[in-house]
Each structure stands twice: as C-alpha cells, then as structure tokens.
C-alpha cells in the first residue's frame, strides 16, 4: 500500500511563504485562496517569546471528517491516501468546511482576479469555472503525481512528480513521500526525528507530520 504524506520540519521553516506562492501558481488558485500557507505563531510573553512558522493546509487525513460529511461523495480518499474533491459533483454546501479541523477548505462564489474583475492573460489561461461555488483544497498536486508515476518517477524524489510546495521550499522544510515505504525520505525523517500531527486527539489521523526535535 501507498500513503502519501507531507512532512514539515518546523526547525527549518522560516515562514517565507514561497510554498504559498508556488502553490498559488501550480494550482492557479484565485486571489486569497492559499491551499498551502504558513502560519506565523507567537507564544509567550516578552522577553520569553517564541515564534514558530507552521505550514498548514489539507492534512489528507486517514479518517477525513470532510469526506464522511460530504453529501455528494465529491470528497473522496484515493488508495494512495490523497483526499480529493470532484468539482463536478460538489454542490458547495461547505459542510466539509465546518467538518475540517484544519481550516483547509476554500469556497469562492464569484470570479476574483488579482487586479480587477478582469483576468490577466495568465489568469485567463488558467481560469477554471468549475472551481466556482464549490469547495476547493490542496490535493497534493495529484495530477502531477499521477503524471510523474506514469513516467516511472518517484513522488517526493523527482521534482516532476512532487507537489509544488515541497519542490519550492527554500529551507528544505517540506518533504513529500510514501509513509508506507520504510525506505522513503518521509519515513526516514519521521523515524529519525520527533514528530507530531496536528489535532491527533480528534482522531483524524492526518497525513501531515511536523518534525520538532531529534529523536
């Protein structure tokens, strides 16, 4: 079996938002729709203050609450663990939005462009009316993974088969791969470091690991 996951090394992330921008490009998401984004979290009180940068987005849960509640079966989980949305089925009820503990979903009802109501040439070239009025979210660049696999490439190793955010990361913080393969980069990272998954107590079994220390 294969289960694709993302690993974010919190020790490395600098919050530069390059992954956010790369995701916006790769997925041609509309203004403000950031399937991948990086939080700037401050904790403590002066002068004992910590600031942590935390990449978030769809966690591709093993038990995705969004999928359970979806009345249309638009949200599905693939055999490789990637949670997808069929934009032709979704009715835009946003039940998945309130079911997701990670605020990973977006719904845009009206075409919105960077500079005005009119798209730029680049926006027009990538404009997809299917995405209006439905829930959208990160799909780990599933189409790219599939195309890469067809060429015999390895997701997480070969850029051509790897999600744009992991490809773009300038801190070497984001890693993608198959957690079921004990020899994959992500399995090794998780094995060799202390890690946690967000809101594990909610039973979602997220496919997004955060590294925070050496093990």
């Amino acid at each position: 079996m294969t289960r694709y996951v993302m690993v974010a090394d919190l020790r490395r992330c600098v919050g530069c938002q390059t992954c956010t921008a790369a995701c916006r490009h790769a997925n041609a998401t509309p203004t403000g729709v950031q399937w991948r984004r990086v939080l700037d979290m401050e904790t403590g009180e002066y002068p004992d203050v910590r600031r942590t940068f935390v990449p978030v987005g769809c966690m591709h849960c093993e038990d995705p609450p969004c999928m359970t509640v979806c009345p249309t079966t638009a949200t599905r989980k693939r055999d490789d663990g990637i949670v997808t949305i069929d934009y032709d089925l979704c009715i835009g009820c946003t039940y998945c939005d309130v079911a997701c503990p990670y605020q990973a979903r977006y719904k845009v009802d009206k075409a919105d462009f960077a500079y005005s109501d009119k798209p730029t040439d680049a926006e027009e070239a990538r404009y997809d009316p299917k995405r209006l009025g439905v829930s959208t979210k990160c799909d780990f660049c599933a189409a790219k993974i599939d195309a890469g696999l067809e060429k015999g490439l390895t997701p997480g190793v070969d850029p051509e088969a790897t999600p744009a955010c992991a490809n773009s990361c300038i801190a070497g913080a984001l890693h993608f791969g198959d957690i079921e393969d004990p020899n994959s980069n992500v399995s090794k990272l998780v094995a060799e470091n202390e890690s946690f998954r967000m809101h594990e107590e909610l039973g979602t079994k997220p496919g997004f690991y955060y590294l925070w220390d050496e093990s």
């Binding site: 009345p71 249309t72 009715i91 605020q103």
Partner: protein, 287 residues
C-alpha cells in the same frame, strides 16, 4: 494575517441557520401534531401543510446558500455516511408522509409523519454533531439539545394552534412547560460539556449568556407563566412564544456566532539550532 486562534466560521450563515430554526421547529411540530391534534379533521390538513412548509422553508434557505444550487440533487448521493444526505432523504419521506396525511389521513400516515419529523430533527442534530471542525457543534451533548428544542418548539407551535380555534388536550401546557424544562436541562448539559478545554475561550461568554436565555427566558419564565393559578390562554400563548423564540435564538447563536473553528495548534514548539524545544501551543484556548 491568517487566524490561528479559533475564529467564527462564516460559511454557514443565517441561511444555514434557517434550516435549523424552521426545519427543526417543523420536524418537532410534525411529531407533536400526531400526539395532540385529532388526525382526521380538515383543519388538520392545514396544520400538516404548515409543518411541511416550515421544514420546506428550512431546506429552501439551505438551497439559497449552496454554491451550486442547480446540482442540489447530488445531495442524495451519500446517505451511507453523510447526515446531510440522510436529512435530505428523510425530508422526502417526511413530505411523502405529509402528502399521505393530506390524501388518506388516518393514524398510520400521521404516525409516519410524526416519525419522520422526529428523524428529520435527529438528522439535524447529527449534522452538527459530525462537524468536527467546530468544537461547539461536535459535542455529543448537542444531539439531545437539538432534539429537545425541536420538540419544545414543536409543542409551542402546537399550543399556538389554539389561536386558530383548534381544540387541544388540557395537558398541552404541561407538555410545553415540561419540554422547556427538558430543553433547559439539555442546555445545561451542553454548556457543561463545553467547559474547560472543550471549547475555545472566544465562545465561552456567549455560551454562558445562552444558558441563561434558555434556562431563564426559555425555561423558568414559561413554566411560571403556565403554572400560575391565574394562567389563562394568553399566558399559555406567551409561554409558547417564549419557548419558540428562545429556541430559535439559541440555534441561530450556535450556528452563526458560537460556531468557532478548532483553530490551529502546535503540540511541540520546535528546537532551533541546538536550543531546547518549547512547549505546546494552542492559541485561543486557555485550557
């Protein structure tokens, strides 16, 4: 800036709340109609229509909200796991039973309508219960609360039918009062369930206010009105209206104002360059 601490969800707005307000009251009304009103009077047909209209109004409001209204039929595709699909199916059965009441009448049709009304209510409760992103919705305590308020509102609405000259059993007042008390109890259980680390800080004041509204204005006040020795029809009607409006207020508040997301949190702050790691961090949650 991205909100890290729990923030109010805005995707389910007043239109979504409308489903819980009117659909819930409609479901409760259909259930209690069979209990309190003789099933074979012509006037009863009007009441059935009113009940169905309430449920229909709720669903219509949801339809107004969805992003792709023309695809609404897709809502039926996932009765296996989605309570929203189930609600849609049950709504069909409720309407069918209601139609049967109108066409055939009789206790079986009315019994079925009552059953599907109750089921409809249950689906609504489960819809909220399964929204795992919203701490104030996902608690198990929301199920009895939604059921109790639907029934209390239903009883209140039935009691209001007296205005139309419908004869109701004498214990309707007791039923309204009793359900209001039951609802207050479920509200107390609900707010208890959300104490401490079970809900974010931002919703706690709102929950407290809501508890007083449901226990005081929606519970104690109607019971006093109904229990006063001088109580007449007016007091009963006022009590019913209080029960209905406080229920609607509560559902609107829970959906639109107290529906805060889980927020984002760190179990461990990272070790940076040889320094020790930090503790856990859960902005917006003091416990």
């Amino acid at each position: 800036m991205i909100s890290i601490a729990p923030r109010r969800q805005v995707t389910w707005d007043w239109r979504a709340a409308g489903n819980f307000l009117f659909g819930g009251a409609g479901g409760g009304f259909m259930t209690l109609l069979a209990v309190f009103v003789a099933t074979d009077t012509p006037i009863n047909n009007i009441l059935v229509l009113i009940g169905l209209a309430l449920a229909g109004l709720g669903l219509f409001m949801v339809w107004l909200k969805i992003g792709r209204p023309l695809r609404f039929l897709n809502v039926y595709r996932n009765p296996w796991t989605s309570w929203m699909s189930r609600e849609a199916w049950v709504a069909n059965f409720l309407f069918a039973a209601g139609l049967a009441c109108l066409v055939y009448g009789g206790p079986i049709a009315h019994g079925l309508a009552a059953l599907f009304g109750l089921l409809f209510l249950f689906c609504q409760a489960q819809i909220l219960r399964m929204a795992r992103g919203i701490p104030t919705w996902r608690t198990g305590a929301i199920v009895p609360l939604v059921l109790a308020t639907g029934l209390a509102e239903g009883a209140g609405l039935v009691s209001l039918t007296a205005l139309g000259g419908i004869s109701l059993p004498s214990w309707i007042g007791m039923a309204v009062g009793g359900l209001a008390i039951v609802r207050a109890a479920t509200m107390l259980a609900y707010t208890n369930a959300l104490q401490g680390g079970q809900s974010p800080d931002a919703v706690k004041p709102g929950l407290k206010t809501l508890l007083w509204v449901i226990v005081g204005i929606g519970g104690v006040a109607p019971v006093i009105l109904l229990a006063l020795p001088t109580s007449g029809m007016v007091a009963g009607l006022v009590a019913s209206i209080l029960v209905i409006l406080t229920g609607w207020h509560m559902k609107y508040q829970i959906v639109c104002h107290l529906g805060h997301y889980q927020g984002l949190a760190l179990k461990h702050e990272p070790a940076r360059g040889g320094a020790a790691p930090g503790t856990s961090s859960r902005p917006g949650w003091s416990e």
